[in-house]
Every structure is written in C-alpha cells, then in structure tokens.
C-alpha cells in the first residue's frame, strides 16, 4: 500500500533529482533548453508508468536513463536526417558535433561540476536579471513555472515566456556550459550570489503585495546557497553569503506580529529566533574567516547579522562593532543604503544626534528620493531627540512611499504616536 498519492511522490523525486539530471544532460546535448525538455519527457514517462508499475528502486537513475534514451533517439534521428541531406547532396554540417556522444562515460563523471556549470549558465550575464531568477529557480530549485509565478506575483505566462526566451538567448549566444576561469570566475560568482540573494530578499521582505514575507522563497534561496557553498567550498565570500542568509532566515518567526505586521529587529522576541539556523550561520561565518577572512560584502553583512544573533537581548548588541563593520562595508561597497544603515548603527552606538548628522548628508541623494526607509529612519532619530513634529512628518512621508501594505500601517502608527507627544514612561 502506498502511503501517499503517487503523483506527489513523483513530484518529490523530481524536486530532488531534476537539477542533477538537467545538469548531466546539458553537458551531453550542449543545450540547456533541450536538456530540460528531455528531462521533462522523462518526468512525463514516469507519471504515466509509475502509478501502474510502482516506483523503481532508484527513481533518479530511472529518470536519467529514460532521458538519456530520448537523447540517443534524438541524435539518431538527427543523424538519419543528416544522411538524407547528404544523399541529397546538401552540405553536411558539423558531423563531429552530431555524432552520438558517449553517454555512459559522460553521465558517470562527477555530477558536481555539471551542477556548478548549470548554476553559472542559469545566472549568465547575457540574461536579464528576471530571466536569471526564473531560470535558476526552475532549473536548480526544481520549481514549476506556476510556483515561480505565484512567488513573484506575476502571471504564469509571463514566467513561462521569460524562461523560453532565456533558453533561446543562451542557445543563440552559444553560451558554453562551463565553469568560468581566472578573473572571470569572481565576477560570475558574484552574479550568481546576486541572483540567489534577490530570490532570498523577495521572500524575506516582499517588495509588493499584502504579505510581508514569503518564507518558501527564502527556503529555496537558502537551499541554493548551501548547494553553492558545497560546490565552491574554498571561497570565503560564498560561505559568508550563506551565513548571511542563515542568520537572516533565523529571524523569520519573529518578524511578523499577530496581525501580520512587521516587527523590527530590535523589538523582536529573540526566543522566537531559530537557534539551529543561527548556529549554522555562525559556523558558516567562522568557516569564511578560516578560509582567509570574511572581508567581502556578504561576509561583512553576515558579521553584522552575527552581532545581532549573538546578543541575547537587544540592549546587549555590540553597536560599536556593528558601526565599525559598516565603516568597512561602506569603504568596500559605497552605497547610500549602506550609509543609511551606518547612520542607524552610529545612532545606536553614539546617540541619535550622531546618526542624524550622517543621515542628513544623504538628504540630497537622488537614488534614495523614493526610498521609504530614509524618512523612516530619520523620523526615528528625530523622535528619539524629542523633535516630534518633524518626526511625524517623516513617518508620514515614509508611509506614502512604501509599496508594502503592512509596512505602511506600521509607519502610520509611528506617525500617530508622534502626535501624542513624548512617550509616557513605563508605557514603552
């Protein structure tokens, strides 16, 4: 007797195996789109056969073998076609390429390298960011087009089209299925991290819609990051990156209040932080340090997150260290957003006036003009300095700028609190 619906069981196998199968096939057929089609064909065959025949002992191997046979059939068909063409006296194209490759040898090789090649091709700079995200979730995360569409709140045909176009772009640009070497590697790797972090952040702080978080996307990104850390084990920044996601994800359960409203870091109930993820995050950060230092932008952000994770109460936070880490981050990756965070750290370490001084240098920053966190943070400093009327105006401006409904409510609450004047002692 089967305990679960056979289709769900097949879905589970697909989720576990699909990336490896697609990666192995891509190396053979040299076309990621074709590889995915072959893998999908094998999945369809499984859906037709397994409910009657039962699940094979090694379902992953079954899927791979089936896809492999389809690939061989296809190559033979192409060869036959080619021969016909030859008979017709047409020009024979690239006979070498059309020869049936040695599938068994190719498939028995270490799959890890193929998986890494698949990561790099999915995040290739020839693709738009949106296409990279969709392709990465689809090929490496094993998500369906429908799941990706739901996660990003876009219509399913949009995602489907993005994926189709991405595959075509890769084929037309003849993007090689390889791990970049030399100076290329670092650039390409940071493009991969960027894509995964984008997925994580879309889950962690949904930029649009009613929900403040979409945890499933965080889990997908975290899983992709962990896979990457295993594939590129000696890169400190990759471990720092995973550390950052693990520690941020550890707060998921504490970031949302009873009616779905966001709870800011310092107000969170730390008992709700996931200690298992914190432990994993701190270990990953330590690993990055052991590998030659956590000096990259993600590792520095992870070190900042770790300061919060280590503090058992908000009041125990080492703000001086956080301010120093933001100094380093600002040097490495100068950006108005980092400056804004540095201002927050300075305010905590040295008082709201110090924070206000820093943030006021950002007032004319064009890239922050529509960014709700600038007035929101400034409002907070002003509030702490007792300048309530100015604070209220800032919170209201912040509320008008955010696209997230939950966050808007929170900001309007803060604006209303300013109207009441200074907070009563004991009521905070």
């Amino acid at each position: 007797m089967t305990a679960t619906h056979p289709h769900s069981a097949i879905d589970a196998v697909w989720r576990i195996e699909s990336a490896r199968i697609i990666a192995g096939l891509t190396r053979i057929v040299r076309d990621v789109g074709l590889a995915e089609e072959l893998a999908q064909d094998a999945l369809v065959a499984a859906l037709q056969q397994w409910p009657d025949s039962g699940m094979p002992d090694n379902p992953g191997a079954w899927l791979m073998a089936t896809a492999k046979h389809r690939a061989i059939d296809m190559f033979r068909r192409n060869k036959r076609l080619e021969r016909k063409h030859e008979e017709l006296g047409r020009e024979l194209q690239a006979q070498q390429e059309m020869a049936v490759p040695d599938f068994d040898a190719a498939l028995d090789d270490d799959i890890g390298d193929d998986l890494l090649r698949l990561v790099f091709i999915s995040c290739h700079p020839v693709l738009s960011t949106e296409a990279r995200v969709a392709l990465t979730l689809r090929l490496l995360g094993g998500l369906t087009t429908e799941e990706i569409a739901r996660a990003f709140l876009v219509p399913e045909p949009t995602v489907a089209q993005r994926i189709v176009r991405a595959k075509r772009t890769l084929a037309e640009a003849r993007v090689p299925f390889e791990v970049p070497r030399g100076p290329d590697l670092a650039t390409r790797l940071s493009s991969v991290l960027e894509v995964i972090y984008l997925i994580f952040n879309e889950g962690y702080s949904a930029t649009a819609g009613e929900d403040w978080m979409r945890p499933a996307l965080c889990e997908d990104a975290l899983r992709l990051g962990r896979i990457l850390a295993e594939l590129v084990p000696n890169d400190p920044e990759v471990h720092g990156f995973v550390a950052l996601m693990e520690i941020q994800a550890s707060r998921s359960g504490a970031r949302i209040g009873p009616s779905g409203e966001p709870i800011l870091l310092l107000d969170q109930d730390r008992a709700r932080w996931d200690q298992l993820l914190i432990h994993r995050g701190l270990a990953a950060l330590q690993h990055a340090e052991e590998l030659g230092g956590a000096h990259g932008p993600y590792a520095l952000q992870a070190a900042i997150a770790a300061c919060h994770a280590r503090a058992r109460a908000a009041a125990e936070t080492d703000w001086h260290r956080i301010a120093a880490l933001y100094d380093a981050l600002g040097q490495l990756m100068p950006s108005p957003i980092v400056e804004l965070n540095r201002a927050v750290a300075f305010a905590m370490a040295f008082g709201p006036a110090a924070g206000l001084e820093l943030i006021d240098t950002l007032a004319s920053e064009p890239s922050l003009k529509a960014y709700h966190l600038l007035p929101s943070v400034r409002g907070d400093f002003l509030f702490k300095l007792g300048r309530f009327a100015e604070a209220q105006a800032e919170f209201e401006r912040a509320a008008s700028l955010t696209r997230n409904a939950r966050e808007r409510e929170l900001l309007l609450d803060r604006a209303r609190a300013c109207a009441g004047g200074p907070p009563q002692p004991g009521l905070q």
């Binding site: 945890p215 975290l222 594939l231």
Partner: protein, 124 residues
C-alpha cells in the same frame, strides 16, 4: 517544512557493517550538498542514558540501559523540505541502504514534521 527523522531499532545488535556506514556517509553527504539536511546526529546507547519521569504526581529518575524497550531511538536527522513526500523519499533511500547492506537488521525511521513559526502565531 522541517522534518525530524527518528531512527529506531533494537539495541546491542553490534556495529553496523562498514559498507552500510560508507553508504550512509555518502547519502548524508549528498543531503548536505543538496542543502536539505540541516542537522543530524547519532545517540549514545541507553546504557549511558537517564529517564526522568512524572507519574501520579511523583518524579522518578531511572538510569539506563532500558532492556524492556524493544526498539530505541539511535539517531536522528532534521531536513528542510518542500513536502512530506520529499521526506518520505529521503527516508526510503536511507532505509534501502539498511536493507541492502545489513541483512537481518530490523528497525524503522519515523518521520515527524517539526512545527514552524507558522504553526505558532505570536500571541496578540
């Protein structure tokens, strides 16, 4: 979704064959690489364990071994997965290895979902 797998079998059946240990290590490595297994561990024999029990308003403490128990938990793993089916698939693979490499061994792995934050919304 997070799941805990609890592996139960009779105690004192001797050390598992090397082939099984190797195969399990390989499987665990794969699960680690896939980013799905977030922790795991093996438990010391019940001879080294202690039970603290409340019964009829009384606390009693009993040192192991617990010979009356037919099967005891010997190891665990925690996985982060999309569905119960994935947990079942991962567990099946683990148990297949036992079937293959340790003839005569009997035991079971229990799959328990771990409640997440979504199962305990914060109190208003």
């Amino acid at each position: 979704m997070r799941f805990m797998m609890l592996v139960k079998s009779a105690e004192n059946k001797g050390a598992p064959p090397k082939e099984l240990m190797d195969a399990m290590a390989k499987l665990a490595e794969g699960a680690n690489k896939a980013g799905t297994m977030i922790t795991s561990g093996g438990l010391a024999p019940t001879a080294m364990s202690t039970r603290v029990r409340v019964s009829r308003g009384q606390l009693t403490t009993t040192d192991g071994p617990f010979t009356e128990a037919k099967e005891v938990v010997g190891g665990f793993a925690v996985f982060e997965l999309k569905s119960k089916e994935e947990a079942l698939e991962a567990t099946t693979r683990f148990m297949e290895l036992h079937k293959k490499h340790w003839p005569g061994w009997e035991g079971e792995t229990e799959i328990r979902q771990i409640f997440g934050p979504e199962d305990f919304p914060p109190k208003a």
